[in-house]
Structures are given as structure tokens and as C-alpha cells.
Symmetry: C2
Subunit: 305 residues, 2 copies
Amino acid sequence: MTQRYPLMVIGTVAVDAVETPFGKQNEVFGGSASYFSYAASFFTPVELVAVVGEDFPSEYRKVLLERPIGLDHLEVLPGGKTFRWKGKYESDLNVAHTLETHLNVLLTFKPKLKTTVNPQYLFLANIDPELQEEVLNQIKRPACKLVACDTMNFWIGKKRSDLLKVLKRVDLLVVNDGETRELTQEHNLIKAAKIIQEMGPATVVIKKGEHGVLLFSESQFFALPAYPLEEVFDPTGAGDSFAGGMMGYLAKENRSDFETLKQAVAYGSVIASFTVERFGLERLRKLTNLEIEERLSDFKRICHF
Amino acid sequence: MTQRYPLMVIGTVAVDAVETPFGKQNEVFGGSASYFSYAASFFTPVELVAVVGEDFPSEYRKVLLERPIGLDHLEVLPGGKTFRWKGKYESDLNVAHTLETHLNVLLTFKPKLKTTVNPQYLFLANIDPELQEEVLNQIKRPACKLVACDTMNFWIGKKRSDLLKVLKRVDLLVVNDGETRELTQEHNLIKAAKIIQEMGPATVVIKKGEHGVLLFSESQFFALPAYPLEEVFDPTGAGDSFAGGMMGYLAKENRSDFETLKQAVAYGSVIASFTVERFGLERLRKLTNLEIEERLSDFKRICHF
């Protein structure tokens, strides 16, 4: 029973409104935990810890139930409204401009894990570091073998000390290049990764969007370009899907040595490359494991010399 | 006799003054053809076509003669002054600010090839496209199997039609990402490469600095991250060294199929990673073929999964 979900994620479940150069869509099912868990589910069952309001559409719940995603910890706050985010991407698609954020149910969220759960792999998706810590406090170590986390500029700027407390207790940090530089005040990403390692996480994964990913462990290094795409339709959720694919693969393999981490980062990149082909979860909902394996093979051909 | 130098480069030979966050140096031996030929010489003998003034220091000539670099076409203009460039890099080292340019002998340069030369591989390094065309007109095709060229923003902006005439006649273009976007008015580099291919060159190599290199042929694609460096001391000449390593390897192998191009791009990246460790040609002058092979092995370990 406690083994059913070897991977757990805490993060946001949201209703997004997204505008890209290719189109505009309101009422898009989004949120860091939604993208993460959907992506991870191609590799392993995953338990989702999040909060929504009473307005949370039943069809979104059905989307999650298409996959082996556990919803026992998807709390519905009576009378509450689901978190909403509205964003817009410029023509180069690299930077999202947040137009509106309505935290709603997130304002009072206190994640409470059932005593029966005991994930071996835990991902603290992008959310207030105080909530990340709350979950960390309820997890049994060393039964939980690997804790990874994500964050964003907002928390680096506004809740730095809370974030640093979390970082001390995690094994792996996933951040993008801009966040890395903001967190460390160091421009060179190789030096910056070492600074982050001193903050806690032995493994650091730096996402560089169209330029790929860098992976640092205590003494090893891996660099991967991005899977080449002519059209990035909507970059929303790319980072969360990447993390979902990566953590899903680690949980499936049930190991996190450097060779496995390399494969995991490659799978994460492949999943993210599918996510951005359509709005929201549209592309992942049609994705098959065969397509994932085919793109991974193609990716190897592109990177190896 | 005509086979002695299978590779030829036309470009600049310069005296630079360079300022980086790590130091400042005047009277640095530089120029696109100098970096190119020194880098290429680790793989193949190379003939240098360029012009200098009477002030060209004899010790710079000796530097070139340390390697199998042919200087029969290094013209010395009587009474002329050597081309000078002064530049400064900001803390992120990505953009060079040109502080001064003194074209001097370049203003009247008309490259004239001896009838005996007949390179199989030709590189038109960054220089006025009119001079690139001048050399193209003196080369015998198809005896010259592969013509590659480089350019820069200045020529894209000021001599676009001359540049387009050159592009129609070359097999391979090496450009950085910013130049690619300026030349094509397309932000997505994969689409941009296709636009460049329609301009002429069947093969396009896009340099992205710290983010690596993309290689496009008619139907194939290759992506390589940059070799990871904690300290980039002076980026001057990185692009020219990259091109030198790449073309030197192609000339040595005497083939340019896609697998060979992939290796060539990797060797180019390795040579460039050494160049930027010191000012000017300092690092390359101490470089050994063993170090190149060791770093290439290391590079494979970093990229393969």
C-alpha cells in the first residue's frame, strides 16, 4: 500500500490563461504539480499533493485520472477558488511575463500527508518554500531516498532564507540559468553550480531552455543540448514536465547514480520537448511511450559523435 | 608542390589590444587568419593569405613559423601599417565592445594568389566580403572541394549584397547565433539555418558561445554543448580557432561527410576551449596534440548518455 506511489510531488494545480505568438487560450489546465505528475506518470505512478478550490473543474480531475496519478492528497478547500495564473510570451518565447496571479487557495494551504504514505522519491515543485519545508518535515528519511526541488525568481528574491533552509535538506535542485545566477550572484554556471552544492544539494540541474541542460554531481559533469524544435507553441510547463520526466525515470529505475541521472535528464528533455508542442497538457495527453523512446533514440543520434 | 598546403585561409592578421575582467593587454598578436591558421596547423599544413604593414613585428612572424603555416601569401605592404583592433569584454564575456578599429593596410588589400597554389579546402575568414569574393574568383573548382566562410554583424549590415553573392558560392557558413538572427531575421535557429541554406551553403554551423554549437546539413542535425570552462580568460579568437580546428580536421581527413563534420565541430570546440584560457595565442602556443585528444575524450564523456 505504501509502495503504490514511489514518487510524490507537492506543487500547484492551476487554471492558466496563456498568450503566445501562436495563439491565446483561457482556462488552460496548468500548475507545476499537474505538469510534473502527468510527465512522471509515463515512467511511474505518482502521488500528487496540492490544493484546489471548489471551482476545480471535474474534467481536469479526469485528465489526471487518465494516468496512474494518486489524488488522495489533492485537497479541495470548501468555498475556495483554484490558483490562477495569466501569462504572455514575447516572440522569442524565452521569457514569460506574468500578467496576473491569483493565489486564492494557496494563501491558506497547509499540506498534510497521511501517515500511510512513504514515497521513496519526492519532488518539491515550484511553490512557497515554507510549504516545501512543511512537506519535508512529514517525510521519513532515509526511507525517502531522494528529495529534489525546484524554485523560481520570486522565492529567491522574497523568501531567500526559507529557501536556503529547504536547500540544506534536499539532494537535488532543478533551476533555470537565470535563477541560478540570481541565487548565487555568479555568472559562470559551472562556478554557480558549485556554490549551490555548498548550499546543500549534491546534485544540481541547470535548465537553459533552447540551449539544453547542465547536470552537476559532486565530481561529475554532463551537458545536453535541447531537443531541436522548429516550433515552440507554448513553453508553459516545460520545466515542470522536464522535472517530471527526470524524477519519474529515477523512481522507475529506483537509483540515482550518475549514469542513471544522465538518462533521466535526457528523458526529462524529451518529455519537455513534447509539452511545448501544444497548449497545456494537450500534447502529453496524446503521447505514447513508443514516441518517447523514438525521440530519445533520435536525440542520441543528434548528440553523439 | 601544389599539395603542400591542402588548406588555405584568407583573413586578417592584426595587432590587438584587449581588456577583459581578468586583465588588460596591449600589442596582442591577433586577427582572424592568425587564430585560424594556428588552430588548423594542429591537423594539417595551412597557407595564410593576408596583408600586414611594414611595422609587422618579426616575432609575430616567428610565432606563425612555429607551425606548418605557409607565409608565401602574407603580403607586406611597403610603408603600410598593420590592421589594429582594440576591444573590451564585459563581465559576462559574451559580447565584445569594439573600442577602436584601424583598418590601415586592409583598405587597399587585393589578395592575389600565385598560380601554383590550389588548396582543396578554403576558408574565407571574417573580412570584407569583396575580398572573400576576390579569392573565390581565383580558386579552381572542383579541385577545391570545400569552401567555407565566416562573417560578422558589420558585413551583414553594411555589405549585405556582397555577402549574399559570396554565400551563393560557398559550401559551409560558420556564424554565431546573433549574426544568424540578423542575417535571416528569424529568431528560431533551426528555421534560420534553413533560410541560410537557401542562400547557398548546404552546411551551416551556428556558434552559440557558452551554449555550444549547432550543425545543419541538408537533412541532418547535430548539437554539441560547449566544453565546460570555469574561467574564460579572453574570448578573442575563439570563433576563428573553432573554425581552424574544424577546417583543419576536415582537410586532414580529406572528407566532409556528416560523421566527419560532427568530429570536426567537436575538434573545433576543443581548440577554442584552449584558446580562451589565455590572452591571444598564448595557450595554443603551448598546446600539444595529446592535450587535444585528451580533452576530446573528456568531451565525449560529458556529452554521451
